[in-house]
Amino acid sequence: MLLTAKNISKAFGATQALDDVSTEFRSGRIKAVIGENGAGKSTLLKVICGVHKMDSGEVDLDGVPFTPVDHIESAKRGVVYVFQETTINPFVSVPENIFIDRLRNFTNRLGLINRKRMEDEAVAILAELGGNIDVRANLWDLDYGQWKVLELARALTYDPKVIFFDESTAYLNNREVVAFLSVVEGLKERDIAIGFVSHHFNEVFQIADTAVIMKDGRWVAEKVIAETNPDEVQNLMVGRTIGNIYPEKKTDRPTEEIIRLDNLSVEKSLHNVSFSVRKGEILGVGGLKGSGGEEIIGAIYGDIRAASGEMTLKGERYAPGAPYGATAKKIALLPGERSIEGLIVNFSVKDNITMGALPTRAGLLDKKRESGMSERIIRDVTIKVRSPSDPCSSLSGGNMQKVVFGKCLAMEPDIFLLNNPTRGIDVGARLEIYKLISDLSKRGITIILLSEDLNELIGMCDRTIILRKGEISKIYDFGEPPTEEDMIKYML
């Protein structure tokens, strides 16, 4: 069995997401699809499965043209796509989750569902997978790794020839990843072709046979995993040496303490974390997803309640009850989800920028100063927009992120918390954001940078904290630059 994709191109508006990409998937083999954010990995697999329509190109399944209208027809014809976002509904049972799209296959003459038959089939599939999942279990009692296994079980009920996994491990913790990967490896024996999108090299090198490497929507290389190494793959997918994309670091060690955390804990996710941040430094926070970085930022910003511990801001006890408690103390946050948490997309650029810092005179809005403020910020942050009154929905991801950035700057923060500021934005905007962060820190503004991008932490931060399961496993001090391998060691 062979699935080939030839010369595939796909554009979303002005963005060329895929540009003449060709590759193939063979039965019994796991092929990793590797690239940076926005490289076109997911888009390639989605185009093959009919989730997106390709602009040009051709897909063949065993020599027969394969052109499903959507992912459901694709699944019925043997090519199943497992989405990154969970499709498990925790309010219904395990068998119902597996057969959710084919409940009608289990109805009797009266149109009622035969639960016994459905449960028996679910038991059979789960036993084959060996995920150790009780078919009667409450979904809330299963972990996210087991949810992914259920989605895989659902995929298998289609008797597929090809399965695509889109960052299936993104929301899993380390233990769940191990269990999930062993289930995926087991699929090879069933002669299924597997496409596996992942950001994590250790996973790729653990289970994949081959890899296709992509960059900016283009095919870069195909590699046999046994014949390559992470450095080579990294260089291929980045296409340039690291270092030159990051601004120069400061040479003097910042000394004046601005905020200190003592034994801060957040229920279940952060345990007795203590560290101090100095005025004007860029402090990096790294770790796997769910290792506690979001909780540190959330607790400082008053968005997540600390269960115990203390914070000291500029020498005074600090305990924000809500985000407005933090903004009142000149702390700003650039949230992780820009279109849900960062800005209101159908409001204008101006209204978003001034939202947290409305200038008033005698209790009334000072519209003149407000316009001046938004124009100054649009210039400073280099937001590409025709008019400040354009809605944010008309902007690209990078420009939207700059609006959120500008909104925070309008509040004139002393401490600026950044949650993955460059996630999912193009390289140009990314460089501009790095420059802004660096300039702010040189002006004495303190930055706490939470990032999943290790190179970003290495390139940007004066000091870096690494978290593992809600505890600090390592602090890289000023003048002690971390390496990627070393950081990963402290994360796992």
């Binding site: 800005l343 947290g356 909104k407």
Partner: protein, 325 residues
């Protein structure tokens, strides 16, 4: 049509895009209604009838001013009619002792009701649909207990003169409403409070992470709306010279219709006071005109429903319609 064609044919085609049509549709509809009614009944355009329309628009109008904030903030209020009735009752009860100033307890009663609704909603985190539905029933119950089902008459001539007669031919109640139009316009467009209400309706999580005191603003927005219903209660009691147990029943439907037809979608964030005023006149003129045509109340009811749904169908961007919280 290519870009060059678009530039070659300026004028109506470019002016009348779908967006501008949607934007002006309520005004177009209003004009169309006026032309229809005016052509059938010349008296429709008489000064006297226009003043009657103004008088009739006051109750829905003052309530719509308040409800605009609530809907802009992404919430809903079903208790309007009951709050208007309860305010009218407290007004009528104190007219004998306070005279002219009886409007103050009416406004305070409205604000108190708003505070209760707002507290259940924003502090208790009960969805506003449910919180105010409870308010609707409870406040009506209080009205029934106080009135025992009988009207409370207002006999103070000075009170009735000030709130229900005309100055220079214009109804006083409309002039008083005009003061509140200016007040709410300033509040919505010229104060941080107005912007914050919009921001909460546009995206509550974003507003909260921007440092806006979401809980407090949501509570205040109901207090403000309640105060406006209180004004409506006082003016309505002056108009009918009594507070009655059934006063304002079903009023919330007209008010919600006025705000939504005026271009404020139930999802919040976008909309304006002017739109709600336009919507108020649409609803009022529709009733007034149909009365002049002598249509039966049953037919009127059907026509009103169709106009409401059609207006929303034609103007609102359905992608943004979601769940009311």
């Amino acid at each position: 049509m290519t870009h060059a064609d678009a530039e070659a044919t300026p004028g109506f085609k470019n002016f009348m895009t779908m967006d501008t049509f949607k934007k002006f549709f309520p005004a177009i509809l209003l004009a169309a209604l006026c032309i229809i009614f005016g052509s059938q009944r010349p008296l429709f355009f008489s000064v006297n009838n226009l003043m009657i329309i103004l008088t009739q628009a006051v109750t829905v109008g003052t309530c719509a001013l308040g409800l605009t904030f609530v809907i802009l903030g992404g919430s809903i209020d079903l208790s309007i009619g009951s709050v208007v009735a309860l305010s009218a009752v407290s007004c009528a009860l104190v007219v004998p002792s306070q005279g002219l100033f009886a409007i103050a307890p009416a406004i305070l009663t409205g604000m108190l009701c708003g505070a209760i609704n707002g507290a259940v909603f924003s502090l208790g985190k009960v969805p506003s649909f449910i919180a105010t539905m409870g308010g609707m029933v409870v406040f009506r119950g209080i009205v029934l207990i106080i009135t025992k089902g009988r009207p409370i008459q207002i006999r103070d001539d000075f009170f009735l003169d000030v709130y229900a007669s005309r100055s220079f031919g214009i109804p006083n109640s409309a002039l008083i409403t005009l003061i509140f139009v200016v007040f709410t316009l300033i509040l919505l467009n010229r104060t941080p409070f107005g912007r914050e209400v919009r921001a909460i309706g546009g995206g509550q999580r974003v507003a909260m992470l921007t440092g806006i005191k979401v809980t407090r603003i949501k509570l205040l927005m109901y207090v403000l709306a309640g105060g406006m219903y209180g004004v409506a209660g006082a003016l309505q009691s002056a108009r009918v010279m009594a507070a009655t147990a059934t006063m304002g029943e079903g009023l919330e439907m007209d008010v919600i219709a006025a705000v939504v037809v005026g271009g404020t979608p139930l999802t919040g964030g976008i909309g304006s006071i002017w739109g709600s005023i336009l919507g108020t006149f649409l609803i009022t003129i529709l009733s007034n005109g149909m009365n002049m045509l002598g249509l039966s109340p049953y037919v009127q009811s059907i026509a009103k429903g169709i106009v409401l749904v059609a207006a929303v169908f034609l103007t609102i961007d359905r992608k943004k319609i979601g769940i009311i919280t």
